[in-house]
């Protein structure tokens, strides 16, 4: 079949087609079961009240969202066939697709959209997404109008599957707490391309084709099986022996390298720009010690060879990230100081800050923690690097996540390696790290650096409300320039997240939301 198609094409296009390597988009095929993975058991499958990628992946198949995104950050119609800002940026009108139904046959109406927004606003951890939505008006069944207290451009990215699933009011609006609703994990009734079949903890999530999906002819697959496999090596072996078709969010570099050498498999880092995971070295700028001085922080950055991290630790599989915005984002501004290795400059800055070397060659001592076991090499490398400029570093060993989180969130640390996600728009995942209003004891991934800068606060407030994309980019440019100089954290690289798929898989999810985007286009060849 495939060969026949190719032959016909070759005849039609002549030798030119054979010489040029033009990619001919393959015709999708109906049917088949996609076997993919989840690295851990989700708490449940309802992304309206639970963030995170393991809920988001099956959640995006079960529930449709107003918009969807491809590789280039342009919103595309999905459950909303069109959408429009009002001129003052204070309301967003969504026109829903006609005839769309939930998996139990009930129609999807604007009431459900309003209910979903209210539920997410009240229960989702990311309060900045819909915090400014004051009301959702429903003039008719297919029109929903979000009324805002201030212009809020982040809304566009927040309206994707990971963050704004449209959930049925007639199921979740029964008065039970949506966070612990029994239908979050069993008998889930959604609006998306696939229907719920089974969810067994530590085993699998099984979904089947929604024959009444609102996009005619889709999805292509009959079934999706998410196998829950926690061990990264076991997932890699499963990919290599063909037991699995696709695995996403892989980040152990040796396994990625091995899989990428297999002729049947393709490994790519495309698809992680919106989730935007960034590794960084965080400084407790609020401590009384030397880290309160930005020259010390800059000196530390100069003393650490970023290329070693990128090439030796990450094996060249992650990208350099010079700021807190993911390099795949259109708002990323790369022309800031990247702190390339410069030991002399580091020494000079430390001298200037008044920390002369003592008789033993040591200026002062610091501790470093690492937020998960995978950043241990970075922590040890930091210790070795800083020894060269006279800073004595003790590496605290990693016990487990709660221990680390408790320590960092109570500001009981000097430096720590960490991984923080952008979650789409900077308003959702970036601002929280630098906002002086967000210095909150006991809350991990708040502004645990205790960094405060009035200008940064102003820029974030302005950018958060700026509808014009160019003006907005300009505000974030200044934001990134100031931060790169103040250096409350030293950003080094993106997490080496990779999607590995068998060549049998057509249209793998390589849009900005990776596995948290609808799989209605994914198909299996043959």
């Amino acid at each position: 079949m495939k060969i026949a198609v190719l032959r016909r094409l070759a005849v039609a296009a002549g030798i030119a087609a054979l010489l040029s390597s033009t990619v001919v988009a393959e015709e999708p095929v109906r049917g088949g079961t996609l076997i993919t993975t989840l690295p851990q058991t989700p708490r449940h499958l309802n992304p309206a009240v639970q963030s995170g990628i393991v809920t988001g992946a099956p959640g995006a198949q079960l529930f449709a969202a107003p918009l969807r995104y491809d590789e280039d950050w342009t919103p595309q119609p999905y459950l909303a066939e069109s959408w429009a800002w009002s001129d003052d940026g204070l309301s967003m009108t969504l026109n829903l697709v006609q005839g769309a139904t939930f998996h139990d046959g009930e129609p999807i109406t604007s009431e459900d959209v309003a209910f979903s927004v209210e539920t997410i606003k009240a229960n989702h951890p990311f309060k900045t997404m819909f915090g400014v939505v004051e009301a959702v008006e429903t003039p008719d069944d297919h029109t929903a109008v979000l009324k805002l207290s201030q212009p809020h451009p982040a809304l566009l990215l927040a309206m994707s599957s990971q963050l704004m699933p449209i959930i049925p009011k007639h199921i979740y609006g029964d008065g039970q707490d949506p966070k612990s609703h029994p239908r979050n994990g069993q008998d889930v009734v959604g609006s998306g391309p696939f229907k719920f079949v089974e969810f067994t903890a530590d085993q699998q999530v099984i979904l089947e084709r929604n024959d009444d999906f609102f996009i005619e002819g889709r999805p292509y697959l009959d079934r999706i099986v998410y196998r829950i496999i926690k061990d990264a090596s076991a997932r890699a072996i499963g990919m290599e022996n063909g037991e699995l078709h696709m695995t996403t969010f892989e980040n152990t570099v040796r396994n990625i390298k091995r899989m990428s050498e297999n002729d049947d498999l393709v490994a790519t880092d495309e698809g992680y720009a919106a989730i935007g995971p960034i590794n960084w070295l965080a400084f407790n700028t609020g401590s009384d010690g030397p880290l309160a001085d930005k020259r010390v922080r800059q000196a530390i950055a100069y003393a650490i060879d970023k290329n070693f991290i990128l090439n030796a630790i990450m094996l060249g599989l992650s990208q350099e990230s010079k700021t807190g915005i993911h390099p795949g984002s259109p708002l990323y501004y790369p022309d800031v100081n990247g702190y390339d290795l410069d030991i002399d400059k580091a020494n000079a800055l430390l001298d200037e800050a008044g920390y002369e070397k003592g008789a033993d060659g040591i200026r002062f001592s610091l501790t470093i923690d690492h937020g998960n076991p995978t950043t241990k090499p970075q922590a040890e490398f930091t210790k070795a690097s800083l020894a060269k400029v006279g800073i004595d570093v003790t590496v605290n060993s990693f016990v487990d996540f709660p221990t680390w989180a408790n320590k960092i969130s109570n500001h009981d640390f000097d430096m720590t390696w960490d991984t923080v996600f952008n979650w789409g728009d900077p308003v959702i995942g970036v601002h929280r790290t630098y906002d002086s209003q967000n210095i909150k004891e006991g809350v991990i991934w708040s502004n645990t650096q205790q960094y405060a800068n009035e200008r940064i606060d102003e820029l974030m407030a302005a950018a958060g409300q700026e509808i014009d994309p160019d003006k907005r980019a300009a505000l974030y440019k200044e934001f990134q320039e100031i931060l790169a100089d103040d250096l409350p954290v030293y950003w080094t690289n993106t997490l080496p997240y990779h999607t590995i798929y068998n060549k049998k898989v057509g249209n793998p999810p390589l849009g900005i939301w990776s596995s948290s985007s609808p799989y209605d286009l994914v198909f299996l060849k043959e």
Binding site: T33, Q40, T41, R43, H44, Q50, S51, G52, P125, F126, K127, S180, E198, T200, A201, D202, Q203, Q204, I206, V225, R227, I228, I229, K230, D231, S233, A234, R235, I237, G238, E240, N241, E243, V399, D400, F401, P402, T403, W404, A405, N406, K407, S409, V420, F421, W423, G429, R432, K440, G442, V443, I444, W445, S446
Partner: protein, 324 residues
């Protein structure tokens, strides 16, 4: 009469031990910094201060530890192990869901290790200084010394990747329908985890069986048996092995707790959906009710296992019966 007294005594000790397990574990978990709210927040990619406080209040984590402990012990005495913080489901339900998988793994590994261990032990005892005996010892010790996860991954690479005989993960093939095909599928998935877990204990049993056999083979009645012209095979199997077994059975009973803890690692490597995996997840998540529930059950299993071993020995070995 004496039997019942022993049984009553052991049961009472068992109950006291269970209470101690509860209180100790509860205290230890609470001594560790951080709590489940941190992991729930992490799972969500960050959370606001209000939400964090709200979740703590919902789970009663804002109360003094001693009050939480009192509440917990009181509930357990009413046979209620509570709700999992992390999965929002009754702990007992979650444990019973996974218990069969763990028991299947643990028992098959135990039986596998015992059969292979005893055979190797008997074999090695025939010529204690022969080259084959040394090879057996070396092989057994290797299995004992190698970390479980390493043996597991090695077996996966060998028998799932290079020679694709067995599946990499899970307990059954979801596409298989019907009882017998499913049972077959489970057996197929069980092979590698069972080999991995069993390999640790083969060394123990074979070494002990070898030593025990050597001792018995040197005793007078074996010499008598040989003298009256029995075949070497009958001497070994009928006379020597029967008497060499009690120490091996005792050890196997005592090793039960070790097998269960070994299962934690094996289950993680092979994605075997048992208690071990649940234990690991809940410890990392500080899901106190689930951890305590699992420890409670494991303690129960070990206590019952030891009690049964005790009673078994009294039945098979007349010498033990004499001592109260």
């Amino acid at each position: 009469m004496g039997f019942l007294v022993v049984l009553a005594q052991r049961t009472l000790y068992g109950l006291l031990l269970l209470l101690a397990v509860l209180v100790l574990n509860f205290t230890m978990i609470n001594l560790a910094p951080g709590d489940v709210v941190d992991t729930i927040a992490a799972d969500m990619g960050g959370a606001s201060a209000e939400l964090v406080a709200q979740i703590r209040a919902e789970y009663g984590l804002d109360q003094p530890v001693i009050v939480q402990l009192g509440n917990y012990v009181w509930r357990v005495f009413q046979f209620d192990l509570g709700q999992s913080y992390f999965y929002n489901r009754p702990v007992t339900e979650m444990i019973f869901e996974r218990l069969p998988a763990t028991l299947l793994l643990v028992f098959s590994a135990q039986i596998f290790a015992l059969v292979v261990g005893i055979l190797l032990g008997v074999f090695a005892a025939q010529r204690p200084n022969g080259i084959l005996s040394h090879i057996v010892t070396l092989f057994a010790l290797f299995g004992y010394a190698a970390p479980v996860f390493w043996t597991g991954i090695l077996l996966l690479i060998a028998f799932s990747l290079k020679i694709p005989l067995f599946p990499v993960a899970g307990m059954r093939d979801v596409t298989v329908e019907g009882f017998f095909p499913q049972a077959l599928s489970v057996a197929h998935h069980l092979v590698l985890p069972m080999l991995t877990l069993g390999s640790i204990f083969i060394a123990l049993y074979s070494r002990l069986c070898r030593a025990s056999m050597l001792e018995v083979l040197g005793s007078d009645y074996v010499r008598t048996a040989k003298a009256k012209g029995l075949s070497p095979r009958d001497v070994t199997m009928k006379h020597a092995l029967k008497n060499a077994l009690p120490p091996v059975v005792t050890l196997a009973g005592l090793q039960f707790s070790a097998v269960i803890s070994g299962a934690v690692l094996v289950e993680t490597v092979f994605s075997w959906p048992g208690l071990g995996q649940l234990a690991l997840t809940s410890i990392l998540a500080r899901d106190t009710p689930t951890i305590l529930g699992i420890l409670f059950f494991s303690a129960l299993v070990v206590i019952v296992g030891n009690l049964l071993t005790d009673l078994m020995l009294r039945l098979i070995d007349p010498r033990v019966r004499g001592k109260a």
